[in-house]
């Protein structure tokens, strides 16, 4: 794709964000290259989700700027819809799908195939969903169809549907927020494979996870956030898994000391 020839798919400069007196992010500089999987690591409250929500247009930063494919984003008018139009998709744990709704409604929510007055082409949406299930996420002969409710799916399958949705809408960047929490090992493997698939098709990915070894197995680069600041950034070739873990242990040790003092 021509517009993927930019150096950085996403570039966030000097991003700060406070919620009342709580400083969530301090002068963050964060970037994602094209066809790169970035692992975003940090404790609860480190600011990972805030950073992602700013990138997704859920809320604006207090300061800073965002460039997507080297083009500056007008933050006062930025929204989840515009992020989608720029082919950035997020898959949020627990927040990706509506439990009681059929898969076809989940795939097209917010991007329904409609006629001029907003009525949904349900037949077309069902057909497309069947295609996604077969071709993009390999839900073959599992007893599911486009009418199945999300509540009938396992945790890994749900992540699969959400990732499949992102791929269907041709996302260049897929953001995965804790995609493997509360999944069995076999299900985790499925999700890891979905992410590898994303990378193989030339797309980029941001993966947020508590599980460093899972992250190490898929990411090209690691960014460590600690209480609103980036405290470390490593390429995979420069760091081993055990080195990465010991760096993290040191950071959380320092935090414990500070809290203790």
């Amino acid at each position: 794709m021509a517009d993927n020839n930019c150096i950085n798919l996403v570039e966030m400069n000097n991003i700060s964000k406070s919620f009342g007196k709580v400083i969530a992010l301090k002068n963050i500089n964060f970037r994602v290259g094209s066809n790169e999987v970035v692992g975003l690591i940090g404790d609860n409250g480190a600011g990972k989700s805030t950073l992602i929500k700013i990138l997704m247009g859920v809320y604006p930063p207090d300061t800073g700027e965002i460039f997507i494919r080297d083009k500056s984003i007008l933050l006062s008018h930025y929204s989840a819809k515009i992020a989608h139009n720029l082919r950035i998709e997020a898959v949020y744990q627990e927040k990706a799908l509506g439990e009681k709704q059929p898969l076809w409604r989940n795939i097209f929510l917010g991007r329904q195939i409609t006629n001029g007055v907003g009525f949904i082409d349900t037949k077309k949406e069902r057909e497309e969903t069947e295609k996604i299930m077969k071709n993009l996420i390999g839900f073959r002969s599992k007893g599911f169809n486009s009418e199945s409710r999300v509540s009938e799916l396992s945790g890994g399958e749900r992540q699969g549907v959400a990732i499949g949705r992102a791929m269907y809408f041709d996302a260049d960047l897929i953001i995965l927020d804790e995609p493997t929490v509360a999944l069995s090992l076999r299900e985790v493997e499925k999700v890891i494979n979905f992410i590898k698939q994303v990378k193989d098709t030339g797309k980029s990915c941001i993966m947020i996870s508590h599980n460093i070894s899972e992250e190490y197995s898929v990411a090209d680069r690691f960014v460590i956030l600690d209480r609103g600041e980036i405290v470390g950034e490593y390429k995979k070739e420069d760091v081993t898994l055990s080195e990465l873990i010991s760096k993290l242990v040191r950071i959380s040790g320092e935090n414990a000391e500070k809290v203790g003092a």
């Binding site: 859920v58 709704q101 329904q112 409609t114 007893g143 599911f144 409710r149």
Partner: protein, 323 residues
Amino acid sequence: MKLKKTALLNARVYKTYAIILVYVVLMGIFMLTAPKAFTDYKIYLAFLSTVPFSLIMALGLTFVIIAGEIDLSFPSSMALSGFIFMYTYIHLKNSIIALIASLLVGVIIGLINGIIVAKIKVPSIIVTLATQFIWAGLAVILSGGIQINIPASRGSLFYNILVGKIANLIPAQSLWAFGLAIVMAFILNRHRFGEHVMFIGDNRATSQMLGINVDRTIIAVFTLNGALASFSSVLLGLEYVTWWPTQGPGFLLITIAAVFIGGTSIYGGEGTMLGTVIGAFIVGSITAGVVASGAAGFWTQLIVGVVMLFAVLFNTLIKGKQS
């Protein structure tokens, strides 16, 4: 695996048709206990004349509850906008302007509810409990607590279009109610707006993340409910050519009961217009059925309660089977 799928499909279909079955059984019982009344078609025409008032409000309330909210203020919306209709009708002698004024009142009431719930994030049960008192109070103050009659309206074209008898038989308000039910069923199941309402009730965070304007949708749902209560108040005012200050509040519980008997989930995210239509007819038929069966009218509430409990238990059991 195939078996699992069909079983699930059946469970869903069951839920929709079970409620029809409940209605048929109820009518069957009344035919046995009160054969004279219930084998005569006239009683069903009577239902077509009385049920639409609560049914129309129940349609709007179904949207509200599917969105995961509740509205307790629609009966007061009915009282106040009914008064405005009467007042405008008498003073301006123009039925169309009176209708528009009345609808406008409902829209404003709904907008206020919706804005407070969506923007200030006050739980809807508290907001609408408060506004319910305000609008009911305002209706009493403005009217001086006195009932208003518009006997002259009877027989006018406006009257005939809204509550006249089609072919000297079918109450027009039933056609309005059924028409609205069909339109709203299409909006719920086939229109973007209805899908957003279902997802907002199902998982608000998902809706937000996928770019749905949650606040605007919630405001729209409350506004719709307010407007439908106004429309119902106009029909009611014309049908009885009378407005009285406590007209609305009597509809609160039977309308809510109709929605839940119809299978709409209190947890939001699911519900059907067909269920609500049948629910409204079940609730609306019980009074007549109980009285015609020779039991004292005192029994009505008890039986509505039993039917509602059964319907809700049934829906919960089916859901249990699904998951």
